[in-house]
């Protein structure tokens, strides 16, 4: 297996992580507090994909819009339950409420689906695509394409539409946005919906090759946190880059050294970045770090 093939796998993994991290940052910027349930929302997206595949017997790419829509609704529900009632309380109250929401999601998944890992649908089927001497996984290539499409779509939404401008304004200065007539609460709900929709896409993308279990949310949450720290707290592009780096460390660096050493190197790189550039590679925009 060549480094190129492993590189493609690493980019595919990193691309899925990038969606996780982007969703994490969206909710962070909207609420100015870490949504600790975000990893569990990714897990929920994975289980939703398993359920949809069982009901409809269709490939993942067809199920994707259903997963996005249902997860967006779940995001609105999460915001309504775990964020909005506490938004005028100290930020720690939101941490605790999202931690509680995450645990509830985890236990609900265990109760409904059992503790065993489940495999989600593949996007366009398995097998490999031969490119000259290289055999690249069809699923890995599809994951990269879908993740890139979702990320570009998100970027266009935020940068080129009125809704995107309102979302950014509400995230940057809620008081000023409200004074200008922007419905800040509605924008917060939209941000949580987008965040959950991205979690749903990531959950579906990861659930085929890497399965889904009720307890994996914490690990995904940690990766999103590290990615956001590397890229710059609150920076969407920075978090995506950080996530890609994590994916590449987990594959390419693990091949060159070892899995354990690659993980140690990743954290060493994180510490180095924090030391040399505490604000992250792209600088911070979020008001506070938690």
């Amino acid at each position: 297996m060549t480094l190129l093939q492993l590189g493609v796998d690493g980019v595919a993994l990193g691309a899925a992580y990038a969606l996780v991290a982007a969703g994490f940052v969206l909710a962070l910027n909207a609420s100015r507090a870490v949504n600790f349930a975000h990893g569990d929302m990714v897990m929920a997206g994975g289980f939703l994909a398993v359920v949809l595949a069982g009901l409809m017997k269709l490939p993942g790419i067809v199920l994707l819009p259903f997963a996005v829509a249902l997860m967006a609704l779940a995001g609105v529900l999460l915001a309504a339950v775990a964020y909005l009632p506490l938004r005028r309380q100290p930020v720690v109250a939101v941490f605790v409420s999202t931690i509680a929401a995450g645990i509830m999601l985890q236990n609900a998944a265990t109760a409904w689906f059992g503790a065993a890992p489940r495999a989600g649908p593949s996007l366009v089927g398995g097998g490999v695509v031969a490119l000259g001497p290289f055999a690249l996984g069809r699923q890995a290539l599809a994951v990269i394409a879908v993740a890139a499409g979702a990320y570009v779509g998100l970027h266009l939404l935020l940068a080129r539409t009125q809704l995107g401008r309102r979302l950014r304004a509400a995230a940057q200065d809620p008081a000023m946005a409200a004074a200008l007539g922007i419905p800040v609460t509605a924008m917060t709900l939209v941000a949580f919906a987008l965040s959950a929709a991205l979690a749903g896409i990531a959950g579906l993308l990861l659930s085929n090759s890497f399965f889904v279990t009720p307890t994996e949310g914490g690990n995904l949450m940690l990766k999103a946190y590290i990615a956001a720290t590397i890229g710059g707290w609150g920076r969407l592009n920075g978090a995506a880059l950080g996530a890609l780096l994590i994916g590449l460390f987990e594959t390419v660096a693990a091949t060159l050294v070892s899995q354990v050493a690659a993980e140690a190197l990743l954290y060493a790189a994180l510490l180095l970045i924090l030391l040399l550039r505490p604000q992250g590679l792209f600088g911070e925009i979020a008001g506070s770090r938690a």
Partner: protein, 375 residues
């Protein structure tokens, strides 16, 4: 002043000094706490453990009734569950969690309260502390890893196995047992590397393992990682025969993979109920499926056998925890998976088997039995 009739009867018994002990009330089944992790990272195995105990207790509702508590993953949760179970009155034994760290926390309490713990935990240390109140009904690493290595060397004729193990306590102890067994058998480990359970992509470590040109690939991983590794290996060229750890025998692990991906894959285990082999075992497997709408695994069967031995102790007249402990320590019990007898340290299970998949379905066939560590 009139007293209800039962109060008068109670007073009469007490006055006569004939009030029976809670254990001696033949009409009332005794309480048997079932303390198992049904949430958290060990929920899959813990649920099997619970189901095995419940199925056993279902056979003797007149003798004992279960009281299930979830111990999740923290030692203190298990300790609290144990204290709560004992605070409600005496119990003859406790079905104790399979999570090693929880067992280690419970051992001093069991010794202090003199209550036998019946478990399927694989953690080696729990029976190495001289605690006479622990009874393990699942073969430990010393048994299954020996079988694992013997199958690789003696049956597959491999001399340069590559070992990929988990970096958890479970993985480390298994890796050590495998290394010692391969050394005894004269095989040279061509490659070995630990992988964290959070790792998703196994192609990097497999690629490195294949560079060492091994003649067998030995996995000692948890359930999800085992499936991830086998799926990754199925997409790579030049992969030798895979002999996985006991996680691969679990039907839930096989369900993650296509039958073609499983072709030629073998695994060690204490037992494999879905592989059948005996009418009684097949009847039990059907009963399990009917009760829990799921396929049983070796943990469920081992806990069933362990709980049945506790019931046998009660049937023999043992009532107090000390009497049940003595029965478990001194008796031989013919279970469905194997025959159990304590080695003096509380290790009750001494057999292992190797199962293999033929690529046609997800039901493994028994390829080799290692009875009492012989063969």
């Amino acid at each position: 002043m009139r007293f209800p009739r039962f109060v008068s009867l109670f007073a009469l018994c007490a006055a006569a000094g004939a009030l029976p002990s809670p254990f001696a009330m033949a009409a009332d089944p005794v309480r048997l706490p079932v303390l198992v992790p049904v949430t958290g990272f060990l929920a899959l195995e813990g649920t099997s453990q619970r189901n095995g105990a419940l199925l056993a207790l279902k056979t003797a509702p007149d003798l004992a009734r279960p009281e299930v508590q979830d111990t999740a993953t923290a030692p203190e949760t298990a300790v609290n569950a144990f204290e709560k179970a004992l605070s409600a009155g005496p119990v003859p034994a406790v079905v104790a969690p399979m999570l090693g760290t929880q067992m280690l926390a419970l051992l001093p309490l069991a010794a202090e309260r003199r209550v036998p713990l019946v478990t399927v935990s694989g953690t080696a240390q729990i029976t190495e502390q001289g605690n006479p109140y622990v009874f393990r009904f699942f073969p430990g690493d010393a048994v299954v890893k020996q079988a694992h290595a013997r199958f690789v060397v003696e049956e597959l004729k491999a001399t340069r196995p590559a070992v990929i193990y988990q970096t958890t306590a479970y993985g480390q102890s298994g890796r050590q047992a495998l290394a010692e067994a391969f050394k005894r058998l004269g095989a040279t480990v061509a490659f070995e590397e630990g992988v964290a359970p959070t790792v998703k992509d196994y192609r990097p470590v497999l690629a490195k393992a294949l560079e060492a040109r091994p003649d067998a690939l030995v996995l000692h991983l948890h359930a999800g990682p085992t499936a991830l590794a086998i799926r990754a290996a199925a997409g790579m060229a030049g992969v030798p025969r895979i002999v996985a750890g006991s996680a691969m025998h679990q039907p839930a692990t096989a369900a993650l993979l296509e039958p073609a991906e499983l072709k030629g894959v073998c695994a060690e285990s204490g037992s494999s109920p879905i592989s059948g082999g005996a009418p009684a075992l097949e009847a039990w497997t059907e009963a399990y499926r009917a009760a829990f709408k799921d396929d049983p695994d070796a943990f469920a069967l081992a806990q069933y056998d362990g709980t049945m031995m506790v019931l046998a102790a009660l049937r023999s007249g043992a009532r107090s925890p000390e009497q049940v402990r003595d029965y478990l320590a001194r008796s031989t019990h013919r279970g469905l998976a194997m025959t159990y007898r304590s080695d003096g340290k509380g290790n009750m299970a001494h057999d292992a088997l190797i199962i293999c998949f033929d690529g046609k379905d997800r039901t493994p066939r028994v390829a080799k039995r290692y009875v009492q560590g012989t063969s």
